[in-house]
Amino acid sequence: MSASDFHVCQPGTVIDRRDIAPVVFDVFAETITSGVRDGDRLLALVAQPSGTGHRLYGVLTLRDQGALGVIATDVADSFPSLTRQCASAHLFEREIAETSGLRPDGHPWLKPVRFLRSPVGVTEFFAMSGADVHEVAVGPVHAGVIEPGHFRFACVGETVLHLEIALGYQHRGIEPALVGGPGLRTIHYMETLAGDTSVGHATAYCQNLETLAHRPAPPRGMMLRSVALELERLANHVGDLGALAGDVGFLPVASHCGRIRGEFLNLTSLICGNRLGRGIARPGGVGFDLDDGQIETLLRNLKRASEEARDALQLLWDSPSAMDRFETTGSLTAPLCRELGIVGPPARAAGLERDARLEFPSDLFRFAQIPVSLWQSGDVFARAYVRWLEIIRSSEFIAAQLAAAPPGPCRAPVGQLAPNALTVSLVEGWRGEICHVACTDDDGRFAWYKVVDPSFHNWQGLAMAMRNQPISDFPLCNKSFNLSYCGHDL
């Protein structure tokens, strides 16, 4: 199937949504499944009411062209499921069935995603039978201070044969609340889609608004936003590496990293007063500027925290007993990552060069590239080591960009949004690629707004990584992904 069926665009370009001519369903399905088979990725699959039925939108990466493709088709109340040909459509189709009532016929496991009031399909867990099979159920209230979710392990002895992950406990209705916006709360919804990714999601939203208003952020605003994004990555990666050390009982590193993570959060709070970066990304740039003295303080504290992180984590890499627990644990192969549409550090840990900062650069990343951090083994070690490489590179990036801060304003006013427009933004958050699709109505208000957190793609990766692993390795595998429950549940 040719790429001509797509409406080809870039993140940051406005498409008149009336120009996206719907194709017949067979072309829609074949274009997506063959594209994904050839190495493209399904970024989003959305159903919206249209006339008497629904319009399906698919957003894909088009690798050959370094661009995105948007494709649409009209369906009545059901359509043949794409999942058997394209595994990465699996969760999107379940979501569509749950939220719109549209039925993907032939879907292999049509179960609710967020357990809304009108459940569709099966609600039981995948079950195995046999004298030696037993199930372990965990959650939604976990043993630690973490978000709610339910994990159902089907085990034979200590070995996990299958893990089913049921989420939805954090569902608080954000996407429906975005319709008709932007409003007073919209930016705050973006900052609380996933609190540890406040800057990432808010940046993706700001970019969409700037695109729809044809008003790019000034260079200084772009710089500060990108710096905050990398600070968010630093804090979370350091924290996760510490948690991984804690899970294998290497407590000195766990202690040091827990503290150093706080030092990075404090760097963010130097910019905006809030440790999670609330108020930094704002449509048109950033909400806070820094003077020379503040930049100097930031640089000084960044240098110290980065050096301490290096010291603490060197202890981890030098510990053969810790490395023995990391290596070959919870492996994901590159072909499996490709099939499931895995993004972020888990994909890069399996050798896939997936990084929106390189593939679809926005803001400052158009002018200053961060090398993509890769490893090949796809195990817990690889996911940890990729994070470590990213810590080094993000730290260097922030220092270089702050030292060469462009002058000028940090925020430009954003006016009226283009009516009947559709735009896509891609931001490489610390967990992976964040995709926001905005679509406006006749008045330039949001007709719909779709958020795809990297966790939406990656939870299935965690389930697959647990296959044939001892159940006691679950905390370690789980931490190496550290996926978002709220970002998934929305």
């Binding site: 967020r114 357990f115 009031r117 939604p140 209230v141 043993a143 630690g144 201070v145 973490i146 978000e147 709610p148 939805g168 406990y169 954090q170 569902h171 608080r172 209705g173 954000i174 609340a177 007073l184 709360r185 705050h188 919804y189 900052e191 609380t192 889609l193 996933a194 609190g195 540890d196 406040s198 000195p252 202690s255 040091h256 827990g258 503290r259 993570r261 706080g262 959060l265 404090n266 709070s269 130097l270 910019i271 905006c272 007063g273 809030n274 440790r275 999670l276 609330r278 108020g279 806070f288 301490e308 010291d311 603490a312 060197q314 202890l315 030098d318 978002s484 429950y485 709220c486």
Partner: protein
């Protein structure tokens, strides 16, 4: 082993001296809001109109700000033409009663009442909490978790997070209580032995936060379980959480405002 010890020596002791010494907070930190004594211009509703969570009301030409609803976006601060609303650097914001979270232009009353004598005897030096994340954005969990690091080290006050409600003296709840978490929260509460306490941390757990009045949430913990301590913020700074806990346990040195 030697390297581990050397690193430990090089890093030194990093636990903060709070509450014996004032905490170090960033310059742009927003603490407890202060409402100026002068009346507002008649008909001015600038702060009310910009507040995303309807935390502000105006009565008799004086604004009042509900800390339980406030998400500390400071849009009111920027909108107020008279400078009537400002934010202090005081991290002490918690209260035992929901109504005490409303900040007006008059001098403040006491906010956190320490536990009664019998409860203090039980919990003052050993408090085990089961944390329940009941929706929200995970931001409060981030800051609750941080208290267990060596920087804040709540263990030195005898406070500890435990895995089972059966081992707990109370719940520490974050999130607006989504419909899908309501039953789990109720069951966890029921599993904690009496006597027990409940602490609601963050704007979500107090009033629903940015998700207030969404049909998918229950606007905070108090509608599901009885709450003994409210700790505002979005998310609260770790110092604010620690301050609230210590006041409840009667372990803060006397100062105003507060115990």
């Amino acid at each position: 082993m030697l390297k581990t010890l050397l690193t430990r020596m090089r890093f030194g002791n990093r636990t903060i001296a709070f509450p014996a010494e004032a905490p170090s907070l960033p310059d742009r930190y927003l603490g407890r809001p202060v409402i100026g004594p002068q009346p507002c211009a008649a008909g001015c509703r600038e702060c009310v109109d910009v507040c995303p969570t309807t935390a502000i009301s105006v009565a008799d030409l004086h604004p009042a700000l509900d800390l339980g609803r406030c998400i500390f976006c400071a849009d009111c601060l920027r909108a107020c033409p008279e400078g009537t609303i400002r934010f202090s650097r005081d991290p002490a914001m918690s209260a035992s009663a929901r109504g005490d979270l409303v900040v007006g232009h008059k001098a403040e009353a006491a906010m956190v009442r320490r536990l009664n004598h019998e409860m203090l005897r039980l919990f003052k030096r050993s408090l085990r909490l089961r944390q329940v994340s009941a929706g929200g954005c995970n931001g409060c969990e981030v800051e609750v978790n941080v208290l267990a690091t060596i920087v804040y080290d709540i263990g030195r006050f005898g406070i500890q997070y435990v895995a089972s409600p059966r081992h707990a003296d109370g719940l520490l709840i974050t999130g607006p209580v989504t419909e899908n978490m309501k039953l789990a929260l109720q069951k966890t509460y029921d599993a904690v032995p009496d006597p027990k306490i409940v602490i609601a941390v963050g704007a979500c757990a107090i009033a629903g936060g940015p998700f207030i009045d969404h049909p998918q949430v229950h606007n905070g913990a108090a509608g599901v379980v009885p709450v003994d301590l409210y700790i505002p913020g979005c998310p609260p700074h770790p110092i604010t959480i620690l301050d609230g806990l210590l006041r409840l346990l009667g372990r803060m040195p006397a100062r105003t405002p507060g115990v």
